[in-house]
């Protein structure tokens, strides 16, 4: 036991002290946050303003198509033929022609542009025209605009999970998102840490240090110490990530609220005829709609301690199960290049379970979801998708027990291959030979 700990300590310290670990742990989440932020920023800022010239022969749509930040509609009083002739020299990017008989022939709209019209502009215009035609037809049928306005309701359902503990407001969106993120992180880490174990074992074998070590301790102790050491590295990384995220989320809302207040005060200023009470009301509305607060509220409805606990359990379980198999491969071959052919069959179930996870997100209580979250090879990823959405306790318990049995099994299997493999040099073994190693004596 003591020797396993010694190995564990070395493997842990060697990795944690590496600069790359510190950089990955701290910069990893920041980089991915920053990456997304940058993508959103670029997406928003790179769209140029488009000027659209609307020639409305029907005379019904003037001023009816709302301009947005990126699309400015204007309605010059020119004949269609002239506008078309002068279009290339004009300041407009798109020319839209609405024929006079639009009410009878809704397909008659024509769009002109120098290079082609983006789908977005096309649908924007179509939507506006459709809406207006609808309005006109309804008005003709005797329904007033006011009734129409009142009839437009924005539906947003609140999902509430009903169980023994009573009603609890739940957020399907947040649960799905959290499940998806957990599955993704597990997928990545099982791959990364699994191959890390494999590489490190091959390195020891190629270095020939392994013979020195196993003349001091049992191969099994060396293998287990290494696997556990790397597992601790992963846990450390998660712990730091959780701390970092919690830190970010406690700081971020503060900043967001400040910005919301600024926005509110701006909106009071733009409504000069409004009272201060109106301005105040607006401010609260802005705050409630603030996306970060919304996310925080949604995440708050989830059972976070259960999710974090399950996540750590399934990380450890899944990691142990797969890293043992990766380790066996690492021991069986002489150099890293030879691992390729053996690694694929092991990665397959990981990739497969990530694929299943996509379906499970849509149907978290179906047969596929149930079986995939029981089988130890797929359960870590698939069960983590289901946990935030709520899983019966017996299912969770059964899945955990099976996973524990699963990794005990693979570790046993791996240790049989490992003890023979690390002393074999030369020919690259086949799966058939490796299966024979399982039954070698001492």
């Amino acid at each position: 036991m003591n020797t396993i700990f010694l190995v564990l300590k070395r493997e842990y310290l060697v990795r944690v002290r590496k600069k790359s670990f510190i950089i990955m742990t701290i910069l990893g989440p920041l980089l991915s946050f920053g990456f997304y932020a940058m993508m959103i920023f670029l997406a928003v800022s790179s769209v140029d303003e488009k000027k659209i010239e609307v020639i409305d022969a029907s005379g019904m749509f003037k001023g009816k198509i709302p301009s947005t930040e990126t699309y400015k509609f204007s309605y010059p009083e020119v004949a269609f033929a002239d506008a078309k002739k002068n279009f290339l020299d004009s300041k407009y990017d798109v020319l839209a022609y609405i024929p006079a008989d639009i009410m009878k022939n809704p397909k008659g709209i024509q769009l002109y542009a120098e290079k082609g019209v983006s789908y977005e502009i096309k649908s924007e215009i179509e939507k506006a025209v459709e809406r207006e035609i609808e309005n006109i037809k309804l008005t003709q049928a005797g329904i007033t605009r006011k009734v129409l306005e009142e009839a437009k309701v924005s539906v947003d359902s609140d999902t509430i999970s009903l169980n023994e503990e009573g009603e609890k407001e739940s957020s399907t969106g947040a649960a799905t998102a959290v499940g998806g993120i957990c599955a993704f992180v597990l997928y990545i880490t099982m791959m990364i840490y699994g191959t890390q174990v494999m590489r490190s074992i091959t390195e020891e074998k190629t270095n020939r240090i392994v013979e020195v070590i196993i003349s001091s301790i049992k191969p099994f102790q060396l293998m287990l110490g290494k696997i556990l050491g790397v597992a601790m590295v992963g846990l450390t990384q998660f712990l730091l990530w959780i701390l970092l995220t919690v830190g970010l989320f406690t700081i971020a809302p503060g900043i967001m609220e400040k910005r919301a207040e600024v926005a509110a005060s701006v909106s009071t200023q733009v409504t000069p005829d409004g009272t201060s009470a109106k301005g105040g009301k607006k401010a609260t509305v802005v705050q409630a709609d603030n996306p970060v607060t919304k996310v925080m509220k949604a995440v708050g409805t989830l059972n976070l301690p259960l999710i974090i606990g399950c996540f750590l359990f399934y990380y450890l379980g899944g990691y142990l199960l797969y890293s043992a198999l990766f380790g066996a491969i690492g021991a069986a071959v002489d150099n890293e290049a030879d691992t390729q052919q053996f690694v694929f069959p092991i990665m397959l179930p990981i990739i497969f379970s990530f694929g299943i996870a996509q379906f499970v997100l849509r149907d978290p209580d179906g047969g596929l979801a149930f079986w995939a979250s029981m089988i130890p090879f797929t359960s870590p990823i698939v069960m983590m998708v289901r946990v935030p959405l709520g899983v019966p306790v017996w299912e969770l318990a059964l899945s955990m027990v099976l996973l524990v049995l699963g990794f005990i099994g693979t570790i046993w299997l791996a240790s049989r291959i490992y003890r023979v493999g690390i002393l074999m040099y030369g020919k690259k073994p086949t799966f058939k030979e490796m299966s024979k190693w399982l039954f070698y004596k001492g």
Partner: protein
């Protein structure tokens, strides 16, 4: 008392029997040469003694007890293929390896200090192993092997990779360890170092032990009862019992002739007869070298 005994060891790999009924006795406090051509089964035997693998049949006794995991701490092993963690600091690495052998960190530190002073390598403590030359790494590995003061030290080709000066240093260390009471099993192809260091030898060929015993006894066994004499003149009319073998002229103009005498004859008689006939410069017995014995026993030249 024997520190190590193996009784009828058999080790079978899939297609190949690596050890076939090998029984050895290694007396305590000696330097025991384990000899044999490549692939004879030496490494297999050493791995069994180190409990890296187990025998399919037979027993290994360490100080009279059947080999058990605890014994590992009393054995030090220097494998033929050397290996250290390349990216680990020398000091940390030695501490780690010593702790795996059951020393506490404090004990290991104290012992390491002695070796670092002895080898004058204090400045290496914080260096990465990969920054050291091959010879330096070998020294580190030697220290790692003997640091826990094992009763039995197994050295597989200990001199490979050393220049003559460092090889000599290691040789002196080996002799000193023997003096302090350690037993050393020494596996090598280099017959000159066997000649110099070993008290006992065992020769393994094609998975079988073909020879073992004290070095002097074996030499006695392989004696050809021939003598060589360097002289000027011609040897004529020696009695029948003395057989003249080959002759050749040495660089400085003498003739060297090998003469065989039967076991029952007296060497003195031959010398007397020679003195009457030629001018003798030197006379001596042809004692077989370990190299001769190896070649004769195995039937092939040892490869280094």
């Amino acid at each position: 008392m024997n520190i190590l005994e193996t009784h009828h060891i058999v080790k079978q790999y899939a297609q190949h029997r690596a050890l076939d009924d090998v029984s050895l006795n290694v007396p305590r406090g000696c330097i025991f040469g384990l000899l044999g051509p490549n692939g004879a089964g030496k490494t297999s035997l050493i791995r069994i003694i180190n409990q890296i693998t187990g025998p399919d049949e037979g027993d290994v006794l360490f100080l009279g007890e059947r080999l058990k995991p605890d014994h590992i701490r009393r054995i030090g092993y220097l494998p033929e293929e050397r290996g250290l963690y390349k990216k680990m600091k020398v000091g940390e690495q030695l501490l780690y390896l010593a702790q795996l052998k059951g020393l506490s960190e404090k004990q290991a530190m104290e012992k390491l200090k002695v070796w670092f002073i002895k080898f004058d390598i204090k400045t290496w403590w914080n260096k990465n192993v990969e920054d050291l030359s091959k010879g330096m790494q070998q020294k580190i590995q030697f220290v790692a092997t003997v640091l826990h003061e094992p009763d039995l030290i197994i050295l597989d080709e200990p001199f490979s990779g050393f220049d003559p000066i460092n090889a000599n240093l290691i040789k002196d260390e080996i002799l000193e360890l023997k003096q302090k009471g350690s037993t050393i099993i020494f596996s090598t192809h280099r017959m000159e170092s066997v000649e110099e260091l070993c008290d006992h030898i065992a020769l393994i060929n094609r998975s079988k032990k073909i020879l073992d015993g004290p070095k002097l006894t074996i030499k006695e066994q392989f004696k050809t009862h021939t003598y060589h004499v360097d002289y000027q003149g011609t040897i004529d009319g020696l009695p029948e019992q003395f057989t003249l073998l080959d002759s050749k002229t040495t660089e400085d103009g003498f003739t060297r002739t090998n003469i065989r005498i039967p076991a029952e004859a007296q060497v003195n008689d031959l010398i007397r007869l020679l003195l009457d006939r030629v001018m003798v410069r030197s006379f001596g017995e042809n004692i077989p070298s370990m190299n001769d014995i190896f070649i004769k026993a195995v039937g092939e030249v040892p490869t280094t």
